[in-house]
Amino acid sequence: MLRPLHIALLEVKRYVVSIQELAFSVALPIVLFALMYGAFGGEESFHATAHVVDLDQGSHSRALINQLDTLDEITVRERTLEDADQALERSAILTAVVIPAGFSDGLEAGEPIAITFKKRGNGGDAGQIVEAIVRSAAQQMAGEAQVRAAVGSVLSGTDITRVTIDSVVSRRLSESRQSPSISVETKWLGGEESSPTDRLVPGLLVMFLMFAVTMNAQTLVEERQNGTLERLMTTRLGVNQLFAGKFMAGVLRAVVQALVLLALAFAVLRIGDIADFMELTVFSALVAMAVSAIGLVIGSVARTRDQAIWAAVFITMFMTVFGGTFFDLTGAGPLDLLSRFTLTRYAIDSMFGMLASGQTLAGQGIGIAVHVGVAAIALLVARTMFKVAGGGR
């Protein structure tokens, strides 16, 4: 019963025994990840730091800073005026926002007040965007303050208390913020909102998992060519045990590479939590099962190492190119149809769903069924086609 495990462990041992090969196989995903992240990762949503000097230290200046800090696009870093000036002087920052003393009192009184943007040159691209965002937030705050002041002024002298006026105005303003009269709707071409990394990570992951096709296709052929396969078949090892061992080894190798990539992606891109990591690892193992089984089909049919490699490369390339590895092919006509005949399509759709759309592993019924089904059928086909030697068992 343990023989398949020994076969798998032997494969792993052969895999790790060469430090150079091991380093290469681990380094390759990292290098490719860095390259792809450099190419696509730079297109992330805008994010910048707003360097804010709060000379007011009042309730409204604090409210403005807190409001800015809640925005996804901005991280607020508070500085002293001296510190900001020095940073601007040495170009460490290109824009600083200065909230003047008396800001809160002025707003309360409904008086005009000014926020200062100190810039080095034109303030830099990010600085200009930060300026626009701060300007917008400050103007909204000023508008609301003016409304409060105007309502208070109109109702002064009536029986309505100041506390009631403030409470009612605050509630109305809050409602207005929740349901603005002019709302902005964003529509993303090609479907749901997503970051480029949401597709980059599954794409890279699946591409590496696909390499298991080549690895597994070679292992049977190599053993046949160097005579160890025939020798193994003269021991008490059964053919089914051999297949189980090779299959396990292929899955194990692919999952190790997937784990390296996933750990990297989660650490660098912070694309999810530990539960996402676990779910993606489990799904990667399912993909590894399917591709390892396909590799065994090729290994069972191919008679030379070259035949196995070329067949595996063709299948890997076909699935990578036509499966929409890095670009969504939904609605792309014939390409969309073609992609449905690749494992890649189902693997990436499921992983993308888990990463970008908040779906869970349990919700990937089609993806799971496709990969488990392909693994089972491919194993059956591989076992049927396999011969230790021509004319043999």
């Binding site: 041992k13 052969r14 020798r231 003269t234 021991t235 004319g391 043999g392």
Partner: protein, 251 residues
């Protein structure tokens, strides 16, 4: 020929590949504790015969029993009593000698501890215990041949198939293999030995068969075969071989 001493009995074996006959009506027996030589030029059918005897190939016709079990119907039982040292170096060069032996020991059904003990014993037997932890890839051709033989012994076989175990090695390694095989026979093992080297067969084999074109053309002790063409003291086995198989080149 079907005496109680016979450990292997092959009767009317036949094998074709794509219409080409590789083995035709081959019958012979190997007695217990005997070194039986199977000689023949390239393409004579020796390796195909060994592959059928060792359960790798199924004969198209004929029957083989080893230790009383049918090779075709009771392959699992047969595989428990045989060890095979193939012509090629069927090992994992990136692993150490011990790792290779232990792995094949586990495949033969040994427990982890037994496999390690057997690996040590067999490496000592082939004179490689001091290189047990070295990668096989760094071994000389002769050392690899000896590891190849040691692996075949891991299953503690009753019948050992040695398919040209001394190809391409120096006289020292060859002599070491001869001594090992003789010691195994003396320890009770039955051996089927194929070789191209006639002096090897003359020295080692108790009986031998010469194959050509898939058939056995003659069988007997070296002395009997030499007697067929002259005075055994003057005739070499090589002369017998050339006389029977001709002098034309074979591929």
């Amino acid at each position: 020929m079907n005496g109680s001493d016979d450990f292997l009995t092959a009767q009317h074996l036949r094998k074709q590949f794509d219409g080409i006959t590789a083995v035709e009506d081959v019958s012979f027996t190997i007695r217990r504790q005997e070194i039986f030589g199977l000689l023949g030029p390239n393409g004579a059918g020796k390796t195909t015969t060994i592959r059928m005897l060792s359960t790798v190939l199924s004969p198209d016709d004929g029957e083989v029993t080893i230790g009383g079990s049918s090779v075709t119907r009771e392959g699992d039982k047969v595989r428990q009593v045989i060890g095979v040292c193939p012509q090629e170096l069927a090992l994992y060069p990136e692993l150490s000698a011990t790792d290779n032996l232990v792995f094949f020991g586990r495949m033969a059904g040994l427990s982890g501890r037994d496999a390690k003990e057997a690996a040590s014993d067999n490496l000592e037997r082939v004179g490689l215990l001091d290189r047990a932890r070295d990668k096989v890839d760094n071994f000389s051709g002769g050392m690899k041949r000896r590891v190849n033989l040691a692996i075949a012994l891991m299953s503690r076989p009753q019948l050992l198939f040695l398919d040209e175990p001394t190809v391409g090695i120096d006289p020292q390694s060859r002599n070491h293999i001869f001594e090992t095989v003789e010691a195994l026979r003396d320890g009770g093992m039955t051996v089927l030995y194929t070789t191209h080297y006639m002096e090897e067969a003359d020295r080692l084999c108790d009986r031998l068969a010469i194959m050509d074109h898939g058939e056995i053309v003659v069988m007997g002790t070296p002395h009997e075969l030499k007697s067929e063409i002259g005075d055994p003291a003057d005739v070499t086995l090589e002369t017998v071989f050339l006389e029977l198989t001709g002098r034309s080149l074979r591929d």
